[in-house]
């Protein structure tokens, strides 16, 4: 079955997601432009992770169509979709060192060590992982682990990268640094991504496009001002809080 011609990037139409026999998301429609990041905000339990899992092929869609670069993928198994899912917890393979973790996806496709090295070495540099190549993943800090997981995902040059609150467990400073690193790498490498978070500031920092998941639906905003103008997203409340915090009386 051939759907309508869609632009490069990720296009989702009429998607419904079921979990535990209940439809938690319905009529989900959005397009993530080629080389841009859709930041999706939503409260805990709103269905963000379920949506990403369905997009990645780790769960079945109850209805709808998923296209990646004009190719319908929703009937393909996860390993053939070209969509990489980055978990909240950086699940590095414990039996592999950092370098082997980075090369994992490449090694599935190629036995050519020189070719694999040519892909992995620039990533090590871009992500600041020099000196950690032979380290056991368990000896890394949370930020280092997340950088390796990020690098492992980038190494396979995914058509779409799905990030499920990847920095949620990091301390504020590391989190900020990782957000900046993500922006820089996503731009320099032209990544098409969906970045799911429940943190408003993170959403605004990493996104080019914006969406919110609530009440069983996913609303895509025209642009950043439209996203900020929707009171349901809490931007105005956040601004009001910080304005009040700066006053002598402090916030309520």
């Amino acid at each position: 079955m051939t759907g309508p011609v869609s632009p490069q990037g990720l296009r989702v139409t009429g998607l419904a997601v079921r979990l535990g026999g209940r439809t938690i998301l319905r009529d989900v429609e959005f397009t993530v432009g080629h080389r841009s990041t859709l930041a999706v905000i939503g409260a805990s339990g709103s269905g963000k992770t379920s949506l990403l899992r369905v997009l990645a092929g780790l769960g079945d869609a109850a209805a709808g169509c998923i296209e990646v670069d004009r190719r319908r993928v929703d009937r393909l198994p996860a390993h053939r979709r070209g969509i990489v899912y980055l978990n909240q917890e950086p699940l590095l393979f414990p039996h592999l060192d950092v370098r082997a973790n980075l090369a994992f996806g490449l090694r599935l496709r190629s036995r050519d060590a020189a070719r694999v090295a040519a892909m992995v070495d620039p990533l090590i540099e871009a992500l600041g992982l020099q000196g950690l190549e032979r380290r056991d993943p368990l000896t890394l800090s949370g930020g280092e682990r997340q950088r390796v997981a990020f690098g492992r995902a980038l190494a396979v040059e995914p058509a779409v990268l799905l990030l499920d609150e990847p920095f949620a467990s990091l301390d504020p400073a590391t989190r900020l640094a990782m957000q900046a690193l993500f922006r820089q790498v996503a731009r320099s490498r032209g990544i098409t991504a969906i970045f799911v978070t429940h943190d408003l500031k993170e959403c605004l920092r990493v996104g080019d496009q914006f969406a919110a998941i609530r009440d069983g639906g996913c609303r895509l905003y025209e642009d950043r001002p439209a996203f900020c103008a929707d009171p349901a997203n809490g931007v105005a409340a956040e601004v009001a809080f910080w304005s009040a915090a700066a006053d002598a009386s402090g916030p309520d």
């Binding site: 899992r53 990645a56 092929g57 780790l58 198994p77 996860a78 390993h79 979709r81 969509i83 990489v84 899912y85 978990n87 917890e89 699940l91 393979f93 414990p94 039996h95 994992f104 996806g105 599935l108 496709r109 056991d136 368990l138 492992r152 995902a153 396979v156 799905l162």
Partner: protein, 257 residues
Amino acid sequence: MRRAAGIALWAAFLAPVALLLGWSFAWRWPWPAPLPERWQASAWTGLAATGGLGAAALRSLGIAGAVALVATSLGFVTSRSAVEARSGVALRWLLHLPFALSPVVLGVGLEYSFLRAGLAGHMVGVALAQGILAYAYAVILFCGLWNARTRAYLDGAATLGATPRQAWIRVLLPIARPLVVLCLVQTFLISWFDYALVLLIGEGRVATLTTSLYQFLLAGDLRLAAASGLILLLPPVIALAVRAQRRPPTFAGEWDL
């Protein structure tokens, strides 16, 4: 206090082995002498001269090796179904049943049908009967592997491009290796130390190291029984020694055994 408890533990574990060692080299060891009156190796030379014992040891090794390999492989492959099956709770209850039954009861229960099937009195029959226990143990052990973390690893590998087969070989097997080794050792020992099933299903025609040891005991030859008992202890001692040599597992997962 802790030191005393430690010494007591060591003594409790090592005393039976020390007694076996003493008896296997004793000429006479009258009570309450702390050591034998005279030492000699006649029990060991006697064992070497007992032609049947070598064959019994080889038979034990063959049966236990086969039981361990088959039970571990089948248990590993089928445990996921036991976890994910709709009737999972009932299935897991069923799998615990062989443990609730003693091998003697299991043997009595199986004897008639094995006899009708022509399996009684054969090594294959003994291995099959022990395999029921060993397989149940393997599945129960591997059920712990199928937790959210393992699934997340496999999901992660799949989205990185790994086919289900590649994910098994490159991710699941390496991270499950400590469990697989543990299962191999434990299922081997279930078979290696078994006496009741060998006796009941083997009908006295399948001689293993445990039945030989019991024969020596029945004949009142404590020295031969002690020497064959020490041979029986060799595999677990070797397994423990190998395990002690290994770097402790560093993976902070559920398989840090």
